[in-house]
């Protein structure tokens, strides 16, 4: 079975690379993008890969004019949960966020937050136990 796919939209290269490595280590299929325009090129369905189950968006990626592409990205991936990596003292931007992780946060903490969201999704998929 295809591993759950996660899309990371984070402008800063190093945190993105480290988080990606951490999530791959934990068994996920991870795609990284520096901005929303690049993230659009991540196809919703690919041969031998599962659909994107979760999108993490760094608040720094939601700047004009890139932020105009937010709804397009969300409509392209109908299934996933949205997680916001928010700036420390900024208002949370509008969006159907499943969880908001606030900076500063360790790479491990972010990965665990994403894992928690995904396991909640997977639990919902399981048939109810007797």
């Amino acid at each position: 079975m295809a591993r759950p796919r996660i899309l990371l939209v984070m402008p800063e290269h190093w945190p993105r690379a480290l988080l990606r490595a951490e999530l791959i280590e934990r068994g996920y299929d991870v795609v990284g993008a520096p901005d929303l325009a690049s993230a659009l090129l991540c196809r919703p369905v690919e041969m031998d890969r599962g659909p994107v189950r979760l999108i993490l968006i760094d608040q720094d990626a939601l700047v004009e004019p890139q932020s105009r592409l937010f709804d397009l990205l969300v409509s392209r991936h109908p299934q996933p949960r949205l997680v916001l990596l928010a700036r420390a003292q900024m208002q949370t931007p509008p969006g159907n966020w499943h969880t908001v992780v606030r900076k500063p946060a360790l790479i491990g903490e972010i990965a665990s937050a994403l894992e928690q969201v995904l396991s909640a999704v997977e639990e919902k998929r399981q048939p109810p136990r007797r």
Partner: protein, 251 residues
């Protein structure tokens, strides 16, 4: 039987079609010319995936089959036929999805069609195959590509010139693709002298609008198709290319 008469249309048409493999190993374009149904369609199987030619053939075949099996009283409104096109497209989408197993798992196709009823062309499309209209020497694109590039422009975001083709080649809607596969529809009253061109991206990407207009203006329908395909190929056209021309002769 002449359904054009049955549905009240009295225009006469000259039509032609041409397709070319381009520089690809396989031609995944398909078309249907069914003047007895008032239906003309082209489809472009998604490149890079197995089964593109199966998907495109299923799309145009299902459309013709559905429209051929749909009977309406002669005074039926255009909305009836619009609904028929939507249902036919959905059926094609379902048929493609049902066959997406093994190496065919990713197959899909675009579709561009016109259905002639009551001296009106109902334009129907999904994906980036196009319908153009040449009227009074002016070429107008009647369809809006379902691509990331067009969606980005609609939101006021223009990717850099070097990125343009990457986004233009990325479809946001296609038959067989996950998500919305419903067609966009438009009604265009047909006038004597109008020329409709249905084509796949391999054709319009190789030619400028002025070139297309020039050819459509000067030639018969079949001659136009042959010349358009030849010119597109000579201008280093790589992709499969298909041109289908319908010319309205008189009323």
């Amino acid at each position: 039987m002449d359904p054009l008469t049955e549905t009240g249309a009295s225009a006469r048409f000259d039509h032609g079609v041409a397709t070319h493999i381009g520089r690809r190993p396989n031609n995944e374009d398909a078309y249907r010319v069914a003047p007895e149904l008032g239906l003309y369609a082209v489809a472009d199987g998604l490149g890079g995936y197995e089964g593109g030619e199966i998907a495109s053939d299923l799309a145009v075949g299902t459309l013709a089959e559905f429209i051929g099996a749909t009977h309406a009283p002669s005074n039926e409104r255009l909305a009836f036929w619009e609904n028929a096109l939507i249902e036919a497209t959905r059926l094609a989408h379902q048929r493609i999805r049902a066959r997406q197993v093994g190496p065919l798992a990713m197959m899909g196709t675009t579709l561009a069609a016109i259905l002639v009823r009551d001296q009106t062309a109902i334009v129907c499309h999904v994906g980036d195959s196009r319908v153009y209209l040449l009227r009074n020497r002016e070429l107008k694109q009647l369809t809006r590509d379902h691509t990331l590039y067009v969606e980005m422009l609609a939101r006021g975001f223009e990717p850099g010139e070097d990125q343009r083709s990457i986004y233009a080649n990325e479809l946001t809607r296609a038959l067989g693709m996950e998500g919305n596969a419903d067609p966009d529809l438009a009604q265009v009253p047909m006038l004597a002298g109008d020329v409709f061109l249905l084509c796949t991206d391999g054709l319009y990407e190789s030619l400028r609008d002025e070139q297309i207009a020039q050819v459509l203006e000067a030639s018969s329908a079949q001659e136009s198709c042959d010349r358009l395909v030849r010119q597109a190929y000579e201008q280093r056209g790589i992709d499969n290319m298909t041109a289908l021309v319908v010319r309205v002769l008189d009323r």
